[in-house]
């Protein structure tokens, strides 16, 4: 036993050592069209396999050692979410830089910028970040950007552990479920953003609720073996007694419950003022808990609804004045929502389409395993299943600019992962019996289960590594590109315009209200030809134009422009009166200024 203990610890340490070697030897400038994976050597994948093997071995021990499982889970998180942070010289994703700019504005002016854009109508997250950087003695949030994804994913671990422990799955499924959630989280909403913070709020709310309340067990209640009994239990989900929270019980004292309700209220207020979508996701999840006897206080979802709707109608009125269709226009438009979220994303080069296809495959595989897990497990309630389904109501109401399905997949992810883990380690007890008979593996059970867990986890982890960083060829940036942007900020006059082809550069982190941006492709219309882009950009009369490697890669990978399109554009700009600024930042970016009539 001690030998086996030493083996998993050694595997974990070896995995970390291999990760360090892999990130040390990765050369960012060699990144190709497949993104991050193109600079990762075999060392990374061997290390990942060792970490997964250690987790699989630990999961099938007779007695679980949770401290080691925690450590190995942290190793897995570092692999999946720390690699890009370590290799890419500056923070990826333009949006993270833009959010840093919003934080700086709030820090300097003490208030959000009104009538600027939708995100500033929910300024709570930016205000919190401004408070944090003030405490840190900084003047901007730039130091927070690069490692934020790893930090926030590690913060998710605590509420995930609480959710897993209280969800009704057994301990092995709990740990495997958490690992599967991380291994399938390709969704990349953990950059410096309000939604990353709000996902933490979401997890903490659900963790508190599931930990506090359990279904009230009535003596003599029959096991729901027959279909008639199961249907009867579903009818009771909408009975008044259930909706009043009387079917849920808690072991907490009245004072503890009031304290937790206070914390829940604060979290709901924080979410309502900092994100458009998450409060409604919290509401749906709380309703799922209420109807499945996992919430004893119906006031909580009512509180969330009032706060979310109240902030929308009062605090965010700048957002919807004259644009109500933005909020309500996609209600019931499932076909067009699906098109915006899925079909229209499967475009671009073969490598890009492969990335998108594999992402869809990962999500489908996770939900398929979750379905199997739901059928194999016994339970006291179907809360997990309802928590998986609840976010899909959001998708039916609001396509969220084509990102609705992404957000739904993220919000369902932790619960789907716990169900998927139950496909391998199902709990078999509880008043709700399993729908499938138990499968016995005899004396090889531990080996078979370890192999199943290991293969599933490794497959997901490897594919997530590939697809999560799959767009990094145009969504990550070099130090040279940042230097070029810094040069423009240092030299541009207020109220002048910076022109770009597509929004793929580290820009927006300062002078939010004074420097304007012109994006030639407008609202993301990839169908504009390079010739038309050239005409639009020249007609914009932007004071500065920035062309960089990320935009070049975007043009070739996503928009289908031929090689050398950016050089042609540069030549056309020079012919129309722009001059190239002598580069002090290598060849990764070109800055042009408009010499005529600046």
């Amino acid at each position: 036993m001690h030998g086996a203990t030493g083996a998993t610890v050694a595997l974990g340490l070896a995995a970390i050592a291999l990760w360090l070697v892999a990130v040390r030897h990765a050369v960012y400038s060699h990144m190709g069209q497949l993104g991050l994976v193109s600079v990762l050597g075999k060392t990374y994948f061997i290390g990942l396999a060792l970490a997964v093997a250690a987790i699989a071995i630990e999961l099938t021990r007779v007695r679980l050692h949770e401290v080691r499982l925690l450590g190995l889970t942290v190793v897995l998180v570092v692999f999946l979410f720390g690699t890009a942070c370590a290799i890419e010289p500056v923070a990826a994703l333009t949006s993270s830089w833009v959010h840093a700019g919003y934080v700086q504005y709030v820090f300097e002016h003490g208030r959000p910028l009104e009538n600027y854009n939708a995100e500033f109508s929910w300024p709570g997250g930016f205000s919190l970040a401004a408070l944090v950087i003030g405490f840190m003695g900084q003047s901007n949030a730039l130091d927070l950007l690069r490692w934020f994804p790893l930090a926030i994913e590690l913060l998710y671990l605590a509420p995930l552990l609480a959710i897993g422990r209280a969800s009704g799955v057994n301990r092995r499924a709990q740990w495997l479920g958490i690992a599967l959630f991380y291994a399938t989280n390709w969704i990349y909403q953990d950059y410096f953003s309000p939604q990353a913070l709000n996902f933490l709020f979401f997890l903490v709310v659900i963790a508190l609720v599931l930990t506090g309340w359990k279904p009230l067990q009535r003596a003599g209640a029959p096991r729901l073996e027959r279909l008639r009994d199961r249907l009867g239990s579903w009818r009771s989900a909408i009975a008044l007694r259930r909706l009043r929270g009387e079917d849920a019980a808690t072991d907490w004292s009245a004072r503890q419950v009031l304290g937790v309700l206070g914390v829940l209220a604060l979290l709901c207020v924080a979410s309502a003022v900092s994100h458009q979508l998450t409060p409604y996701a919290i509401l749906l999840a709380l309703l799922a808990c209420l109807v499945s006897s996992r919430l004893g206080r119906p006031e909580v979802p009512a509180f969330v609804l009032c706060l979310a709707v109240g902030w929308l109608s009062l605090g965010a009125s700048n957002f919807w004045f004259g644009h109500l269709s933005l909020i309500f226009g996609s209600i019931g438009q499932l076909g067009s929502s699906f098109g915006q979220n899925v079909s229209q994303r499967v475009t671009g080069s073969a490598s890009h389409r492969l990335i998108v296809d594999v992402r869809i495959l990962i999500t489908a595989a996770l939900f398929g395993l979750a379905l199997l897990g739901a059928a194999r497990r016994g339970a006291t309630s179907r809360t997990l299943e309802l928590l998986v389904a609840a976010p899909f109501v959001l998708f039916a109401v609001q396509n969220y600019g084509g990102e609705g399905l992404l957000r739904v997949a993220l919000l369902s992810g932790p619960f789907a992962a716990l169900l998927a883990a139950s496909a391998i380690f199902p709990a078999r007890d509880g008043p709700i019996p399993p729908m499938l008979p138990d499968v016995r593996f005899g004396r090889h059970a531990r080996g078979v289960l370890a192999a199943a867990a290991g293969v599933a986890l490794l497959s997901f982890a490897v594919t997530t590594t590939v697809v999560r960083g799959g767009n990094d060829a145009y969504e990550s940036f070099s130090a040279g590109e940042l230097a070029a942007v810094d040069y423009v900020y240092a030299h541009i006059a207020p109220n002048k315009t910076v022109g770009v082809v597509a929004p793929y550069l580290p820009i927006g982190q300062r002078d939010v209200s004074s420097v304007k941006f012109f994006v030639a492709i407008g609202g993301g219309d990839n169908a504009i030809s390079p010739h038309r882009v050239r005409k639009i950009l020249i007609a914009s009369h932007a004071t500065y134009v920035i062309l960089n490697t990320a935009q070049l890669e975007w043009g070739e990978i996503v928009a289908g422009y031929g090689p050398g399109w950016q050089s042609s554009l540069e030549g056309a700009l020079v012919n129309s009166g722009y001059r190239v600024v002598p580069a002090r930042w290598g060849t990764t970016a070109t800055v042009l200024y408009r010499a005529k009539g600046r």
Binding site: V300, C306, V309, G310, S313
Partner: protein, 73 residues
């Protein structure tokens, strides 16, 4: 005698009206949660009155928000 409640729907759905209704509803929800959690010894009629107030004020709040969207949006 004038039975006008407000000069217009827009006035009825003005921000202060929505805010006051919101705050009142949140306070009532908090009160209900506290009463039930601490098992305060109230008569059944008082409980029903509290529940009724929460529901009625909730409907009023949602109606005012709807009016605000329709008139001001």
């Amino acid at each position: 005698m004038s039975w006008e409640v407000a000069s217009s729907f827009a006035a009825l759905a003005s921000a202060p009206a929505v805010l006051v209704t919101l705050v009142a509803e949140l306070l009532l929800l908090g009160l209900r949660a506290w009463v039930v959690t601490t098992r305060l010894d109230l008569t059944r009629q008082v409980h029903l009155l509290l529940d009724g107030a929460v529901i009625a004020l909730g409907f009023m709040f949602l109606l005012l928000v709807f009016l605000r969207f329709v008139t001001v949006g």
